[in-house]
Amino acid sequence: MIEVKNLNKSYGDFVAIRDVSFTAEQGQILGFLGPNGAGKTTTMRIITGFMPATSGSVLIDGLDSFRQSLEARRRIGYLPESPPLYNEMRVRGYLRFVAKLRGVERSQVEDAVAHVVNACGLQAVADRICGQLSKGYRQRVGLAQALIHNPPVLVLDEPTIGLDPRQIHEIRELIRGFAKDRTVVLSTHILPEVSQICDKVVIINEGRVVLEESLAKIPAGTSLEDLFLSTIAKEHHEPIDAEETLEEVGAGHA
């Protein structure tokens, strides 16, 4: 599980995120929603230990991502915004490299590679060079490298961006398949994506969390789009009370 507590991050004078807190339980897919530039990538980079927060903390299965960084990082699979492929390597060689880097036992590297190649549908391209792959396959290889060490926590930064509708569908199916006993955080600015695959939604705007709510609790008649637009339109400087917002949106629909 992931516990994000009171994260702040500023670059000089620019405040990227302020007081961001939320929790993702095991078995949950948390949709991290927000307009471009809201602080989604910054938050995910802090969760994965790529950069530090200015203040606040992140616990990965109870491990502090700053103080127990190596242990915490071992538990995370991470797909950054652009798939981190070495363009000169072949897909299989690349996955082998990531497996070793992620601490998979030498004797199990081949099994791990074979497993994600199957799971992510990479059989046809496993011996191709990463630099020659199409966008959809690059995204899949990115997902495969995030899964290779069978991590309990998955952090996916806009996993379906730039894909065609069929590819989006495939990637979503993949994520849903892997999510069962893991904690997944995925960021997106595609609203229907959240209602289709997520259990919980966190909406972030201008660096603040404006809504954290389980999708089951959102009334059936409420479109996520209305919810999103009404929460980010408020521009409150305090986190908005979810109940209140839901009532207002619900009322608008009635």
Binding site: M51, P80, L85, M89, V98, L101, R102
Partner: protein, 257 residues
């Protein structure tokens, strides 16, 4: 250690796949061959002139180590000043630009292991190149009788010099995501280390000594002549360690800035 070797193997492989390694080695050996040819021709010419003049003393004074090996290594060291930045410029800068830096820094791997892995790979490539340049003294040994001890010391000097260059290149690459900036700044530092002793005579004696100690040729030229002095070895090892330490700090700071 395991992580270091994993990274080193992958880096070294990509040098050969890209194929930077072959281009760099070809350029180094082609230029080396040209210098070698010119120096041998010059040696041959001098020998004929001295013999024609009947100048036995000059003929005795003519020796392969001084007339061929030393100038050859001096020329090759200048080639290294240009080639090593080209080898190391991509190490960190490219990862940052392509986005694989996120993969590397979020993996359960220590910063020191990343730096060590990249250092090992680049140093290995450069050392392979220098080992291949051993063909020139080999040719001399077949057709003449150079002093092999001196040659050993000279090649050890060049190996240390090249590895020191690599460390500096890693450092400049860790500072930027632009490979050209990484290469040019490495080139600048290496060239500065070459010329830093030029004003040594102009200032105070102490300053002159400091500048002379910092200058690469002061140490390299000793080893080329076959003199292995601990001062010189310590100098090269210090450059390597300081540069690698700075690289580690620079990568680490990107992580916790």
């Amino acid at each position: 250690m395991r992580n270091t070797l994993t990274i080193a193997a992958k880096e070294l492989q990509s040098y050969f796949v890209q194929p930077i390694a072959y281009v760099v080695m070809a350029v180094f050996l082609l230029l080396g061959g040209w210098f070698f040819f010119v120096l041998i021709r010059r040696f041959d010419l001098l020998m004929h002139i001295y013999a024609a003049m009947g100048n036995q003393q000059a003929l005795q004074g003519l020796n392969l180590n001084e007339a061929v090996i030393s100038p050859l290594l001096q020329d090759l060291s200048i080639v290294l000043v240009i080639l090593v930045p080209a080898i190391t410029m991509r190490t960190f800068a490219e990862e940052k630009r392509v986005g694989t830096y996120e993969l590397l820094l979020t993996a359960p791997v220590r910063t020191g292991e990343i730096v060590a892995g990249k250092f090992l790979a680049s140093a290995t490539l450069v050392l392979i190149m220098i080992a291949l340049s051993g063909i020139y003294p080999l040719i001399l040994a077949i057709f003449g009788n150079p002093e092999m001890g001196v040659i050993g010391a000279a090649w050890l000097g060049m190996a240390l010099l090249a590895v020191a260059f690599v460390s500096i290149g890693l450092f400049t690459s860790s500072l930027t995501q632009n490979q050209i900036i990484a290469a040019i700044s490495c080139f600048g530092v290496l060239l500065l280390l070459y010329v830093i002793s030029w004003p040594a005579e102009l200032g105070s004696a102490t300053l002159g000594d400091v500048l002379r100690y910092l200058a690469l040729p002061e140490h390299f030229d000793q080893m080329i002549k076959g003199v292995i002095d601990t001062t010189d070895i310590v100098y090269f090892l210090s450059v390597i360690l300081v540069a690698l330490f700075l690289t580690q700090r620079s990568v680490e700071s990107a992580r916790w800035r």
